[in-house]
Structure formats: structure tokens, C-alpha cells
Symmetry: C2
Subunit: 604 residues, 2 copies
């Protein structure tokens, strides 16, 4: 029996999601494409409403309980609170796991952008529990794309049906950011299977009893392959071997060596997994039984398909935590009386709600700008996934792919950085109360602190953006983004007035992106160019978000009601308080500053 | 039996403290003053070494244990882990509580600057346990300044001897930032005492069994007094009434209504206290027995003496957490192998320690700049306290007071903001490991998140700086600070070369402070001037820190060894990566931006 549903108006803003999907991203246009022909705004809205209801009923109520009673490993079994299993069962019944898939996989051909918006309800409600279906979906999608029909039947379909969950096993204790150093071995067997042995680390959902089985996708080396990342192959390794009838049977030789105890995200089990340590020996032979996925030595490429999706998903989760923190601190600010206006401090006058204080409004407006901007960015990326698959012509599909390439590191890192900051402001609005576990916001802040780390750290995203994506195909991705920015700026300029002023600021900022990128690479020295990559990532991220906000400003011009005024005000805030931060960053980058690389480690 | 001492080289840098005290702040000059005549660098160093040893032996080893087993209120008694009591006993034995006091109070007339440096060892080792003596010291100092000789004997001396601890009881559930709304009442009795009734909130050290007694300093209203803060009087209210022989006896009517469960600082009990609820009724009459301190209705002024000290202490704690996080992530970065240089990624080559990666060095250099800069600022403020009390002439004492006035909100807020950021970077350097409770840095981050809240939030500091301190005495404080900045810049300019370049940047930045302050107040509209007070606080804070770093740059010019190179490099980092952030903030302020006050609450 689930608890009383949470107040969904404190999780996500239904109105803002509709604005982003329809007014800004024109998601309804997708229904004119053959793939989505059976959809309509009504079916999209029904999915969003289903997400809202399930999130409020099954996910939000145990968010704190999952934090307080983190999973425990006892006698080889991982114990979780019962509400997690109920939530996953409800999610499985909804069919949302396979929502974007084809009908033959139980799906409903839902656009990714709608699925991502729907999923944000669950992330806002309970980021830790939502991690299980999130990982499972990525895993299943990878198997459907690269696995054999048998692998799809044996592993992917049960995951899509909610019977199994999935993981991605990349890191090892000595190989986190550096996957070239993965050591796990996969020995080929006469029957075509492999036996895996090695130690994996930081495996979210790595062990639990929440579902019948767990499907691990594991990066490992087939002996004799090339060193480094080019010698990594991908294997599917189930926790329990799957019988011909599809039911999970004998335990495979995969055991949880321990659970990691984290500052946040505590409801998600996170395990060190040992493969092939002899704890369970199927058939008496050493090693965990695995099947190769796709071709040998192409594991990292396959994994990156899942990883790119996961990175946008991390951004979406960070954004959702930002939004719920904003909504909760907004509600608090409206109801908490404290102090009086700075002019006219008559102690006899009643106290005013703290939203009347300018500094509190500043903290709310900043949260709105960060979290709704981040939501916009990740939804735009999800919209690009749909374009990549369904745009009418090849040029449109290629263009979407280029934009996705260059935006993925930003969609992962910007929400992780700024919606963490939003959560910090949400605490600050609550004052001392926000620092206590009686209020949600301190948990959101702890949960969100993971997002700049997992699925590639901030520093890794920075190298990816400046070192790869900005120069890939001769800079085609950045050029495509520049054209997109210019199109929005052009539309705004044509409207004149304030819109044209914002457009001019954005155009000038984008000009800085292109000149600074060129200046950095003009050195021809990657170690100098990349030394301040994190500064570059943050500056370009802010410019991209200014583009998001200009687009939302234009989309919000249709009406002068409070909601649309709020969107425009958040856009103004972003252009006046946030975008100007970038000039100092661009100037630093353009100067070829070498303070960091010049620092001898012994000086520290 | 205490645990094995912690490695003190991971708590604070002995070398950097010595540099700050002697090379930068010329603390040795103090021994020429009559008050410190019996001191010498040797006695200062002995105190610092004592602090280091006690912190490593008694405070650091239970830092995590205190976090995991937070205090619990059971059957009216607050239980804490036994290590806290041992630590406080060791601290009491050391005589450090009264170190800065006169001999007749058991003190050793230690300069505040040395005491603050010594105390930072404890804050770095265990911010939660160190809060008890920290609060006790402030409380005792206030009583010594404003209490009667009997109050000093009855309450202050036992605190200075470590037998009692002290609290400050200001906030109430409806009165946090707004002390004008304090409701607690104090009814005068025929015997000259008062009976207090009311509810206090957020009382650190509010209840426990760690010492024989707890001395509460309580803001309350004597009936008939003026409304608002002008009607607040200060009372001393012991947990147990003190017998004529000095021993604590009967329970007073003060009870812990509950403990607050916090994200961090968990080892410090934090209680809601009820006064005069009838749980304990001394002599059968209602109310908690209290004695007036000083004159009626002057309570807030007295409390502000303690509060100003506490604010600098908050900054010192934030700085110490920043330093220990820096040192721990530095040690990790030197020892953790991961990845290879961005040029020459031969997967056959061995992995390098992560300190070899530019982005890791960036995160370490930023931490060094934030945490050592913050340490410098709080030590400078402590040095000003000594000047205020012992400078040869009245002009020098007055000048120190003016500087302290204007610097206090910055010394409280800047370390709280940027050393929290430093702790976030310390986590990031550790990667996934840093997010787990197996490493210290996640706790430092959680602990440090309190510092922008307690003892006056960030927003309150901003109003204090721009609304009061910047305009007090016709702006005398800001002028004094400008002269100080100019003196350092002049010295640097005279040296020529790089020092002169840094001086020019600092001079230009200070010029912005003065013009922007004038522009803000030129409007004559406080609500407009103060709307962006937080932006002002942050911008001025960064300029002040640039001044700190220029001073340290000059002081570090004497040698080219690794330590002094590191100090100069951190100064360069601050001037190149940090100070330029302020221009966008000053431009925003100068433009008279009204985005925030123009935001209708309904738009949010």
C-alpha cells in the first residue's frame, strides 16, 4: 500500500514542461512524421500526466526513507526498503520503460523529447529510485541496437517488461576516467560464450533483489587484443543465467564485494562487483559466463551510445533536482514570514513573507534561470535525438547528430554545476531550516553533488568539448551550433526592442566562442590549448544557455500573464546577471593563460 | 584512551600558518607592546604546536564518528559519543580557552591573531567538536566585558576553566534573521533576578552532558520596554543554578524541546530550548531564573560584540575546512595514478599521478587560493582585534576598529562561500571516491555548507556591508580599507615588474569599489541600492582577497623555494582567474540593474 501521494506541484512545473515542449520546442510538429503519426498532443499529455501521477504516488513518498535507510549488503544479499520494489513494479506496469521503442518491443514509439520530459517527474520525485529504470532503459536500448535477436529476447525484452534491471560496468578501481586501463578479462569458450574475471567499481544498481535478474553490460578484454581502449569488447553478463524458457536460474559468478556509502543518491545501490572470483561457478569452470555483444574490440563505441544518452540523462536529473528545489523554496518563501522591508522597518508592523525581500527573490530568480534553462537544454537535446532518427532528409539528420555531439558535454555538465548551485540557493532561502533533514532541499543538494562526477567528470566533459567536439569534422558541430544560435538571434533581432538587444548580446557572445576556440587551437599545442578546458566548458555553456533563454523569451512573448512574464524575466536575469560572467573567461582563454600548466606540482 | 593521533600535515599547513603570522602579518612586532611583552615568537610557536598536537590527538580522530553518531535526545538527556567529552577535557587542561585573557582570569595574554591561528587546528580537525569551546569563549568574553564581578566569578571563570560551556540564545522559531521579533519575556523579581519564558531555536551546544553546567546568554524582553531590537535585554541563564560555593545544583527551567538534525556539523548538538515551561520550577515559581547582564535594553549591542567575534570565527572555521580539504585532495592527487598526459596517450605507458593533469592542478591551485586567502583574511581581522586593543595611539586603535567593522561581513561570508567551493573541488579531485564516506572531504563539504547560514546569512552580511558598514561614519571604514589597499599597492608598485602589474590591477579594482559604492547610494533609494547587495558583497570580497594575495605575494618574494613559489603562483592565479570575475559584477551594480526588485512575486 503506497503512502499518500506527494504534492506534484512541488516536483516539476506542469505548465513549464508544456511551455518547453510545445511553445518552445514545437514538439507537436513531430506528429507529422511517419514514426509518430499515431501520436498527438493528447497522447503526449497523457504520458506526461501518467508520469506525474506515478512519480507523486510511488516515487516521491519514499525519497527521504531511501536516503535514511541506504541499501545494506548482508550475507551476500543487498537489502533495500520495500518501497523501491513497489515503485519499480508500478513503473514496469506503466510501460514507460519501453515507451520510445517500437511496438514489437512493447513500445509506443514515443518521441524521446516527450519521454525525457515524462521521466523528469521521476527524477524530481526520487533521483535514487529513478536510477534503476533509467540505467535499465539505456542498457536495453544498447542491446536492441547491437545485440543478436536472441540477446534481445533473452535480456532486453525482460528489461523492457520490468522483470530485469540493467547496469553498465565500465570503471574498475584503477580505471575510472581512464578506461584504457580496464583489466577485466574475457576468455573465449568452445561454446561461443566467454568467461569473465575482474573487478568492477561504482556499479549503480550493481546488486539488489528488486527484480528477478540483473543484466550487466561489461567492458572487458579478449586476450590478444590491442592495448588501450581499442582492445575493449562488450559483454552481457547476467546475475542469474537465463534458462531457455527465459526464466532466471543458476547464479552466475558475479558477486557484490561491497557497497559504496555515498553522500547522496543513497537509495541507489552502488557496488564493487567481482567477476569470476569463484564464489559461484556455473558448470564448475572459472569465470562469469558472458556473451559478446556485437564485434570484438568495439565495446567502447557501443558503450558510448549508451553513455551519451546517460550523459544527457544526468543533465536531466540535475535539472529536475534543480526544479524541485526551486519549487519547494518558492513555496517556502511565499509562506514564511520574516523581517520587514529595508525601508520602513517599523517593528510594530507585521512581518512580511520572505519573498518580499529582494535577496530572496534574487535567489529564486537565479534558481528559475538555472533549472528551467537546464531543463530546456536537455529537452532540446532529446528533441535532437528525435531529429537524428526521423528528420525528413539526410542533411537534417546529420545536422542533429552534429549538434548532439557538441551539446552532450554541455548538457551533462552545465545542469550538474548550476542546478547544484540552485539547490544550494534553495537551502539558503530556507535559512537554518534548509540545512536540516526536516526539509527536502538538503537531500537534493547532496544528491545533485554526484552529477558533476559520474558518467564522466566535469574535467572529462571539458576535454571532450574542447579537445574533440569543437574540432571534430573541422569544427562542423560548433558551426552547426553557431548557425542555430544565429537563427534564433535573427528572429529576435527582427522583432526589435528588447528582443533585439538580447539578440545582440548573444551574437557578440557567440562571436567570442568562435574567436576564442580558434585562438586556443592556433597554438597547435594541445597541452596548452586544453589546460583551461574547464573554463572553456563553463563559458561556452553559459552562452548556450543564453541561447536557450532567448528562445524561451521569444516563445513567451505571446502573452502577458504572470507565467509568461516570469519566463521573460528569467531570460532577462540570465542575460544581465549571468551571461556577462563569460567575458572574463573568454579574455583569460584568449590571453593563452598558462598559470595552471606552469604550476610545478611541488609548489602545491 | 584516545585513538591514534591523526596526521596533522593533513589538517593545516604549519609552514603556511607561520608564513601568514610572521612573514605577512608581522605578528612578532606585537611583542614590543606592553600587553605582550612576556611573549616571543617562541611562546607563540609553542602555543601553535600545542594546538596542532591536541587537535591531531583529541579532535581529528573522532571527526567521522561524531558525524555518524549524531547527538540524541533520550528521556530529556542529550547523548553524545564519549570522545567529545575527552576532547573538551583535554582542551580545558591546555588552558587555551582563556589564552587571550589576562592572568587574573587564568589567561596568558596571547594575541588574538595567534589564538585564532592556534584554534584553526581544532576547526580543521573537527569543526563540530571545536564549536563547544568556541562558543564558550565568546560567551565568557562577553560576560567578562559586561557582567558584574559576581557574574564573572559564577559563570565566566568556570567556563574559562573548562568546567562549564556557554551558548548564545538569539533566534526563535519566528525570529531568525529578524531579531526584532524575539518574544521571550523576562519578568523582574523582587530579589533582582528575572524569570524567563519563551522558545529559542538553533541553539548550538544548547543541551548536553559534556560539562557540569551550561551557561546560556539569552536575548529577552523586559515587559514595558520598547518594541523591536531596542527592547532586547541580555540575560545569563544557567542550565543548573549555581550554588554560593560555585557548584551547579538544582535544574533551572530550561529544557531541550528537540534536537535539529542537520546535513553536517552533526557532532554539535543543536537544540530548540524552552525556557519557563514548568518542566523544572526552581522555588516553585514559573520561569527560568536569569540575571540581567549590563543595562536593560542594551542586549543586542552586547550580543553584537560576541556576534562580531563569532562571525570572524565562522570565517576562520570555513577557511580551516577549506585548508584541510585542500591538503587531503593534494595528498590524494600525488598518490592516485590515473590516465596519461593529453599529448602522447600511449596506452602502454604507465598511468601518471593525477596531479600531472592540468585540470587537477587547476582545482588544487583554486583551493589553495581560496583557503589560504581566506585564512589570511581571518588572521588579518584577528590581528586588527589586537590593534584595536593595543595599538600605541588612539588613531591606530580607531583605524583598526573601522577596518574591523567593514571587514567583518566579508571575513564571515567570503570564506563561507569560497571554501565551500574549495571543498567541492576537493571532492572533485577525488572523483567518485570523494563522494563516499570513506574519505573525509564529503563531510567537510557538508559541514562547511552551514557557514553561509549561521551567525547571519549571506544576505544579512550583504545588507550589513552595503547598507551599514559602507556608509557608517560617512564611509570612514571603506576609506580606511582603501588606504590600506593603496599602501600595499604602493609597495608593490615600487618593486616594479610583476608586482607592479598586480598592484595596477588591484588599484583599478579598488577604484571600482569606490565608484560603484557611490553610484549605488547616489540613487538615494535604499531599496534600489540594496537590491543587489549580495552581488556587491561578493565583488568587494574578491577585491579584498586580491589585496590579501598581493600582500602575501610581496611577503613571499624573499625566496625561490617551492613553498614561496607556490604562494606567488596562488597569487597569480587569484589575479588572473578570480579578480577579473568582479568586472561583470561592478558593471551590473553600476548600471543600477533592477531585474530583481522588478520581479513580481507572482511571476515566480
Amino acid at each position: 500500500m503506497p503512502a499518500t501521494p506527494a504534492d506534484s506541484s512541488l516536483l516539476m512545473s506542469r505548465k513549464d514542461l508544456a511551455f518547453q515542449l510545445y511553445a518552445w520546442l514545437d514538439t507537436e510538429a513531430l506528429v507529422r512524421r511517419p514514426r509518430y503519426a499515431e501520436h498527438s498532443r493528447e497522447t503526449f499529455d497523457a504520458v506526461l500526466e501518467l508520469g506525474e501521477q506515478l512519480a507523486a504516488r510511488y516515487f516521491a513518498p519514499h525519497n527521504r526513507a531511501g536516503d535514511l535507510a541506504e541499501p545494506r549488503l548482508e550475507d551476500g544479499t543487498v537489502e533495500t526498503i520495500p518501497e523501491v520494489r513497489e515503485a519499480l513494479a508500478a513503473f514496469a506496469r506503466s510501460g514507460l520503460v519501453s515507451a520510445t521503442m517500437d511496438e514489437d518491443l512493447g513500445g509506443m514509439r514515443l518521441p524521446h523529447v516527450v519521454s525525457t520530459a515524462c521521466f523528469s517527474w521521476f527524477q524530481a520525485a526520487n533521483i535514487a529510485t529513478s536510477a534503476y529504470p533509467f540505467l535499465t532503459l539505456g542498457n536495453a536500448r544498447l542491446l536492441c541496437a547491437h545485440g543478436t535477436p536472441e540477446q534481445v529476447d533473452r535480456y532486453a525484452r525482460p528489461m523492457l517488461a520490468g522483470r530485469f534491471t540493467g547496469t553498465m560496468c565500465l570503471s574498475e578501481p584503477q580505471a575510472g576516467s581512464s578506461l584504457a586501463d580496464v583489466l577485466t578479462r574475457a576468455e573465449p569458450q568452445d561454446d561461443g560464450t566467454y568467461r569473465l574475471s575482474g573487478n568492477k567499481m561504482w556499479i549503480s544498481g550493481g546488486d539488489h533483489e528488486l527484480t528477478e535478474n540483473i543484466v550487466h553490460l561489461v567492458l572487458a578484454r579478449i586476450p590478444g587484443g590491442p592495448p588501450g581502449v581499442k582492445g575493449l569488447s562488450l559483454f552481457v553478463v547476467p546475475k542469474r543465467l537465463v534458462s531457455p524458457d527465459g526464466s532466471p536460474g543458476e547464479r552466475n559468478d558475479v558477486v557484490a564485494a561491497g557497497l559504496n556509502h555515498k553522500m547522496g543518491y543513497r537509495g541507489t545501490t552502488n557496488a564493487a562487483l567481482n567477476f569470476g572470483e569463484g564464489a559461484h561457478l556455473p558448470g564448475g569452470r572459472p569465470g562469469a559466463v558472458g556473451e559478446l555483444v556485437g564485434e570484438p574490440h568495439r565495446g567502447l563505441a557501443y558503450m558510448f551510445m549508451m553513455m551519451n544518452e546517460a550523459r544527457i540523462g544526468v543533465g536531466a536529473g540535475a535539472a529536475a533536482l534543480g526544479v524541485t528545489g526551486y519549487l519547494k523554496s518558492l513555496a517556502y518563501a511565499r509562506s514564511r514570514p520574516q523581517g520587514r522591508p529595508v525601508t520602513g522597518r517599523d517593528p510594530g508592523a507585521p512581518q512580511v513573507p520572505i519573498i518580499e525581500h529582494a535577496d530572496v527573490r534574487r535567489m529564486l530568480l537565479a534558481q528559475k534561470a538555472y533549472s528551467e534553462g537546464a531543463t530546456g537544454l536537455v529537452l532540446y537535446c532529446a528533441r535532437l535525438v528525435d531529429e537524428q532518427h526521423t528528420a525528413e532528409d539526410e542533411a537534417g539528420r546529420r545536422r542533429a547528430g552534429l549538434l548532439l555531439d557538441v551539446l552532450t558535454p554541455i548538457a551533462k555538465s552545465w545542469p550538474s554545476q548550476w542546478c547544484l548551485e540552485a539547490n544550494s540557493l534553495a537551502i539558503q532561502v530556507h535559512g537554518g531550516y534548509g540545512y536540516t533533514r526536516e526539509y527536502d532541499v538538503e537531500q537534493h543538494y547532496r544528491d545533485n553533488r554526484l552529477n558533476p562526477i559520474h558518467e564522466g567528470t566535469h574535467g572529462i566533459q571539458a576535454l571532450d568539448l574542447l579537445g574533440r567536439k569543437a574540432v571534430l569534422d573541422g569544427g562542423a558541430g560548433l558551426r552547426a551550433l553557431g548557425e542555430t544560435v544565429a537563427a534564433t538571434a535573427g528572429e529576435a533581432a527582427a522583432r526589435g526592442g528588447e528582443a533585439a538587444e538580447l539578440a545582440a548580446s548573444l551574437t557578440a557572445a557567440w562571436e567570442r566562442v568562435t574567436t576564442v576556440t580558434a585562438a586556443l587551437w592556433a597554438t597547435g599545442e594541445p597541452d596548452r590549448a586544453l589546460a583551461n578546458a574547464a573554463v572553456y566548458l563553463e563559458a561556452v555553456g553559459h552562452v548556450v544557455l543564453a541561447w536557450v533563454w532567448l528562445g524561451q523569451y521569444l516563445a513567451a512573448s505571446a502573452s502577458d500573464d504572470a507565467f509568461h512574464q516570469g519566463k521573460r524575466q528569467a531570460a532577462r536575469y540570465f542575460f544581465r546577471h549571468e551571461l556577462p560572467r563569460t567575458e572574463a573567461q573568454f579574455a583569460l582563454l584568449e590571453s593563452g593563460d598558462t598559470t595552471v600548466p606552469d604550476t610545478d606540482p611541488d609548489w602545491l
